[in-house]
């Protein structure tokens, strides 16, 4: 047979994210300095960084593995309460952080087990129930969490046993966490692991037939996604200085989902953009409390109906030819 010569590039490697990553890192590290004159704006930016981390973790599960757990906030809460408890009993924050994140990861694996049996919407519904139970757990075990009252006056951590970090220094820690989170996601997505997760998202039966351990990889996805949630939760507690069950309830989980869906699931930068646009919104709308919830509801409906692939997805669609939405199998299964 004559070899086809028109296209010889058979490299199987994914394209790079170097330039957008460099831009993001510069902006992330410059923002705390630029906003250092205004503590409030710097604080909003810091919270946004935490949400970028959460959205990236959710993106790994929802965007790349095709699972939609609405319990990311609950997992973040498990980590936050663990870290606050440990630091209160004398632990260094920097030692408590990995322990808390690991607690979230292990919880994520256990609470993610229903995803092995339940598909799509049914798992999402189940995760919603899990999230609610976790929130109730935070209220019920008031000996550890101080119940509905919450835990206040959580100090910023110190570096090397000295004074607590300044606001600016901690802002930089948050920026670093967000940048590292995005880098980790890029590395995963470009690796064999990432390709296998995408295969599971697209068609888990076919993935299994190709020798991919679907159960194992779903568990790995939950471990890593929950780790993102846990690190974010651990960093969140001292930054806000106050945590309560409401800090990690179902609305927060929905909010993180919205950032991923609105920005564009299954793309690296979509959820980052989603977090940058939506995380500050709740601060801007703080005075219009009732309007805020209505606006979020409308936004959720708009995203589902008008832009199922999100901002980044809509942008990519224009570049790529004939790509149907993620939920629709490209080939009718039952067709002959």
């Amino acid at each position: 047979m004559t070899p086809v010569t028109e296209k010889k590039d058979l490299s199987l490697l994914a394209k790079g994210h170097g330039l957008p990553l460099a831009c993001f890192a510069v902006v992330a590290f410059a923002t705390p300095f630029l906003l250092s004159g205004n503590r409030y704006f710097a604080f909003v930016a810091g919270v946004t960084m935490i949400h970028i981390l959460w959205a990236s973790g959710m993106n790994l599960l929802y965007g790349y593995t095709g699972l939609m757990p609405l319990m990311i906030a609950g997992l973040a809460g498990i980590s936050a309460y663990t870290v606050v408890g440990l630091t209160a009993s004398g632990w260094s924050f920097w030692l408590a952080l990995p322990v808390g994140a690991l607690a979230a990861s292990i919880s994520g694996i256990i609470l993610g087990l229903p995803s092995l049996r339940l598909k799509g919407f049914y798992f999402t519904l189940c995760s919603l129930v899990i999230q609610t139970v976790v929130t109730l757990g935070f209220i019920y075990f008031s000996g550890l969490t101080n119940g509905d009252t919450g835990i206040s006056q959580i100090p910023l951590p110190s570096m090397g046993g000295g004074q607590p970090l300044s606001g600016l220094a901690y802002d930089l820690v948050l920026s670093a966490a967000a940048v590292i989170g995005v880098i980790v996601l890029i590395v995963i997505v470009k690796s064999t692991l990432g390709r296998r997760l995408i295969a599971i998202r697209e068609d888990d039966e076919l993935a299994g037939m190709l020798g991919i351990n679907v159960t194992g990889y779903k568990m790995i996805a939950f471990f890593i996604g929950s780790l993102f949630a846990g690190v974010g939760g651990a960093l969140y507690a001292p930054y806000i200085g106050f945590i309560s069950p409401r800090s990690f309830d179902v609305l927060i989980s929905m909010n993180i989902w919205l950032m991923v869906a609105f920005g564009g699931r299954g793309t690296i930068w979509g959820p980052v953009i989603g977090a940058i646009l939506l995380a500050p919104l709740s601060f801007l709308l703080q005075e219009y409390y009732t309007v805020k919830d209505i606006l979020y509801g409308l936004l959720i409906i708009a995203v589902i109906v008008l832009m199922p692939a999100g901002i980044a997805g809509g942008f990519l669609r224009k570049k790529k030819e004939s790509a149907p939405p993620l939920d629709v199998p490209a080939t009718p299964r039952g067709a002959k």
Partner: protein, 238 residues
């Protein structure tokens, strides 16, 4: 080395009150192309599903390449070197052909794998489609992608569920050519309704009828068997 590649003993499968497979025995030797024919609903796809681990049989055993694979997961069976295609073509439609192939590999950066991919893609003449979403290709091209994804894994046995289903007569001829060359790369088990495919490729034919093995033998003998003609080939199904 053991000459028997696939050995199925007394496999039965019921779906509720319907017996889809009733105690099927089957032996396939290494390098022997086995064709399976039978009317719609006779249990052919269920049979493949049981062997590939997608469906758990109610009773019976399956051993592949000298090891029992009864009750193991599809991914473990795939790793043992048994691969299959589906009746309705099944690729990762959203992903490009390149990404589809990469998914099938353990390490897409490995130079030997890349060489294997290039060689097989050239042979299948699908190289020029590498950057297209697999779902946007024609049915024939998607079938080629299916073969490519499996061949890069160097399978020992490839089970094809109606490989020419839905193809035009010109494409059927091309596919028969591809499949006869495929015999040099792995052992083939093929389900087909198109007798041309069976006649030209199969060394041995098994006829399935209502979950039971009706006949087994060389194609010339089976296709001339009066029972097979009466119950299957003479009907509208064939």
């Amino acid at each position: 080395m053991n000459d028997i590649l696939l050995e199925v003993k007394a496999v039965s499968k019921r779906f509720g009150g319907v017996a889809a497979l009733k105690g099927i025995d089957l032996v396939q030797h290494r390098g022997e192309t086995l064709g399976m024919i039978g009317p719609n609903g006779s249990g052919k796809t269920t049979f493949v599903n049981v062997i590939s681990g997608h469906t758990k049989p109610n009773s019976g055993t399956v051993s592949f390449d000298g090891r029992s694979v009864s009750g193991t997961n599809p991914f473990q069976i795939a790793k043992a070197g048994l691969t299959r295609t589906y009746q309705a073509v099944r690729v990762f439609g959203e992903l490009t052909v390149r990404e589809n192939v990469a998914t099938a590999l353990v390490d897409a950066r490995d130079a030997a794998s890349q060489e294997a991919v290039a060689e097989i893609a050239d042979w299948l003449r699908i190289t020029h489609r590498f950057d297209k979403p697999a779902g946007s290709l024609t049915l024939m091209e998607q079938r080629q992608v299916e073969l490519l994804m499996r061949l890069v894994q160097k399978p020992k046995l490839m089970m094809l569920d109606e490989p020419v289903g839905g193809l035009s007569s010109a494409e059927v001829r091309t596919m028969i050519g591809v499949l006869s060359e495929l015999k040099g790369r792995c052992t083939i088990f093929v389900i087909e309704h198109t007798m041309k495919v069976i006649r030209e490729l199969a060394d041995k034919v098994v006829v399935l009828m209502a979950g039971e093995k009706l006949a087994e033998g060389p194609p010339a003998q089976i296709l001339a068997d009066q029972r097979v003609i009466d119950k299957y080939l003479g009907t509208a199904d064939a």
